[in-house]
């Protein structure tokens, strides 16, 4: 929750406990895990770990800030620049880390830091996080399967994909 309606968020952030504290730990640990997976899969290394961890720490303090987008961008850019193997299974680790980071930051922004989380809240966030991680794993499966085969380009397929992407973007814009 931002300072706009949570004037004491900075002070209250230091009073996080229980699940609220765990979420803030995950916000810092998940990008670190993503960087670790990237390092294991990398051909060359970008030295941006300190920046990513510092940004993640800022997100842990203020989960409702836009700094989280910077963390995602840095982790993605780091992967893009460092990893050459397109079908490496470490991408699942990075994707899972990003999912945990995003879910933790989002969940931490939902309730005040000292509030007690109910079982139902914990269960639902865990389930949703698991679903998107499974989605990543399935995508990696497709990528790995396709990567080994040299699939020729198809104009119809590209056009259909563009139509689907444009439709999706328009729908998202309307829904948001």
């Amino acid at each position: 929750m931002s300072d706009q309606f949570w004037p004491e968020s900075w002070r209250l952030g230091t009073r996080a406990r229980g699940v609220g504290l765990l979420l803030r730990l995950l916000v810092v640990l998940a990008p670190a895990a993503a960087l670790g997976c990237t390092r294991l899969a990398a051909d060359s290394i970008l030295a941006i770990e300190v920046v990513v961890i510092a940004a993640a720490a800022l997100v842990a303090i203020a989960p409702d800030s836009h700094v989280g987008l910077v963390v995602v961008a840095l982790v993605g850019a780091n992967w893009w620049a460092s990893v050459g193997d397109l079908a490496t299974p470490w991408s699942i680790g990075v994707a899972a880390s990003l999912a945990v980071f995003h879910a933790s930051a989002a969940a931490a922004s939902v309730v005040p830091p000292s509030a007690v989380w109910t079982r139902a809240m914990c269960r639902r966030w865990l389930q949703r996080c698991s679903v998107v991680v499974c989605g990543s794993a399935a995508t990696w499966g497709v990528v790995a399967a396709v990567h080994d085969q040299r699939v020729a380009g198809a104009q119809l397929l590209v056009a259909a994909a563009l139509v689907v992407a444009a439709s999706g973007a328009l729908w998202m814009r309307g829904a948001s």
Binding site: L69, S91, A106, V110, W140
Partner: protein
């Protein structure tokens, strides 16, 4: 993006849309399907959040179980949330801390999964630790949709409530007989004979006696008419005068130290409760920096409630000023109980003036005994001790002048004075 009934996208949703979208575009543009693997969790979260976006604002109702409490008692602040669409997932609330209140949870923060947990858990216990009137709430209510994608924040100032905390009466009881007053109706037995209900004696008939009072067995035995005499019932008219012009000492609420005003208010509450429970008529005069507030004498528990509410509305004075003002009208023949820290000569002069009007006056000294010991600095402590010595001298003079002054010690504080007043009245020495 439009605000549907106050629902706004969150930074988390923006992160999912922009982050996931950028990775997906990069995947396509750079022919890097591995970036698509990274994008899927964020895109999935964004799609789910957008698909479950609420359109209607939740209906929030806030209430407090009790608007009037006693010091040390607790009540509950409740928040009910209705979600007609069923798209609200998590609801969090924060109730700001009001003065002299303790909250449970101590941070005033609660959260629930609305449809799984219900809104019963959106309740915050409030314990009031000091008398007075204070505003509580409203709580900030924050509702979130799926994946914290959209958020609705509600805080309606109209939901604030006034919490009246009545002073907790100190334990008080008096066993002394009542002071005689001119009224002849009530629950107390008058020392004079009259048309009451309590048996006094059987005596020979006198002209004016009612025939229904004739005691036939005694009359038949003696051969002359005898009647049953009774004691008159008397009503006490008590005026409680609270000196709220000064307040010294530190107030720590019901669990801590008591300032002079705390002692005065709680003692007044105790004395009022005692007299009203005995069927007496009690009036109240509050001398405060804002003027004189008066409550006419009456009896009954509803009147006690009025007395306590007036006491709860007393505001502290920021300065030690006593201009010696006097309430103009006091009930004739009333027993006046003046509750004051007696820090200024004007307080004692006030008591003497009331006594000069022919009213029975009891002065209750409400200055905390440890006032000198509470001083943070030795110099202030010494100043207090000197001030207390001066005050003791003035009290001695007042006592010598016939003004009864007793320190407030709770139960039995007034016994000696009431007993003395009763005997004085019996000898016809009304002051």
């Amino acid at each position: 993006m439009t605000d549907a009934e106050g629902w706004r996208p969150t930074p988390a949703h923006l992160r999912a849309v922009v982050g996931g979208g950028s990775l997906a575009v990069a995947a396509v543009m750079a022919r890097r399907p591995d970036l698509l693997v990274l994008a899927v969790p964020l895109l999935g979260a964004a799609v789910m959040a957008a698909a479950r976006r609420p359109e209607q604002a939740p209906v929030v109702t806030q209430s407090i179980d009790h608007g009037v409490l006693r010091e040390g008692d607790a009540t509950t602040w409740r928040i009910a949330v209705a979600d007609p669409e069923g798209r609200v997932e998590d609801v969090a609330a924060l109730l700001d801390e009001a003065a002299w209140t303790d909250r449970q949870p101590a941070t005033g923060q609660v959260a629930v999964a609305l449809h799984a947990d219900g809104d019963e858990a959106l309740a915050i216990a409030i314990r009031s630790s000091h008398w007075g009137r204070r505003r509580v709430g409203p709580a900030v209510v924050v509702a979130s949709s799926a994946w914290a994608g959209f958020r609705w924040v509600g805080r309606d100032e109209a939901d604030a409530r006034l919490l009246v905390t009545l002073p907790q009466p100190s334990p008080f009881d008096a066993v002394a007989p009542p002071v005689r007053t001119p009224g002849l109706v009530g629950l107390n037995r008058s020392p004079r004979g009259g048309s009451g209900t309590e048996f006094a004696s059987v005596r020979p008939f006198q002209p004016g006696d009612r025939l229904r009072r004739v005691h036939w067995p005694q009359s038949l035995r003696t051969g002359t008419l005898h009647v049953t005499s009774t004691w008159a019932d008397q009503d006490r008219h008590v005026v409680l005068m609270v000196d709220a012009l000064t307040d010294v000492g530190v107030s720590g609420g019901i669990d801590g130290r008591a300032s002079s005003l705390d002692v005065s208010v709680r003692a007044t509450s105790s004395v009022a409760e005692y007299f009203i429970s005995h069927g007496d008529r009690v009036g109240l005069v509050v001398l405060s920096a804002r003027g004189v507030r008066r409550l006419a004498a009456a009896a009954g528990h509803r009147h006690l409630r009025r007395v306590l509410e007036v006491l709860a509305s007393i505001e502290r004075s920021s300065s030690l000023v006593d201009d010696g003002r006097m309430p103009r009208v006091l009930g004739e023949g009333a027993l006046v109980v003046l509750l004051s820290p007696l820090l200024s000569p004007a307080s004692l002069q006030r008591a003497a003036t009331i006594a000069d009007r022919g009213l029975q006056v009891l002065v209750i000294d409400c200055l905390p005994e440890q006032i000198a010991e509470w001083a943070d600095e030795p110099l202030i402590g010494m100043t207090w001790r000197i001030e207390l010595l001066k005050r003791e001298r003035e009290l001695g003079r007042a006592r010598a002048a016939g003004v009864a002054v007793v320190p407030w010690h709770g139960p039995g504080s007034l016994d000696a004075v009431l007993r003395d007043a009763h005997h004085s009245a019996g000898r016809g020495r009304h002051r």
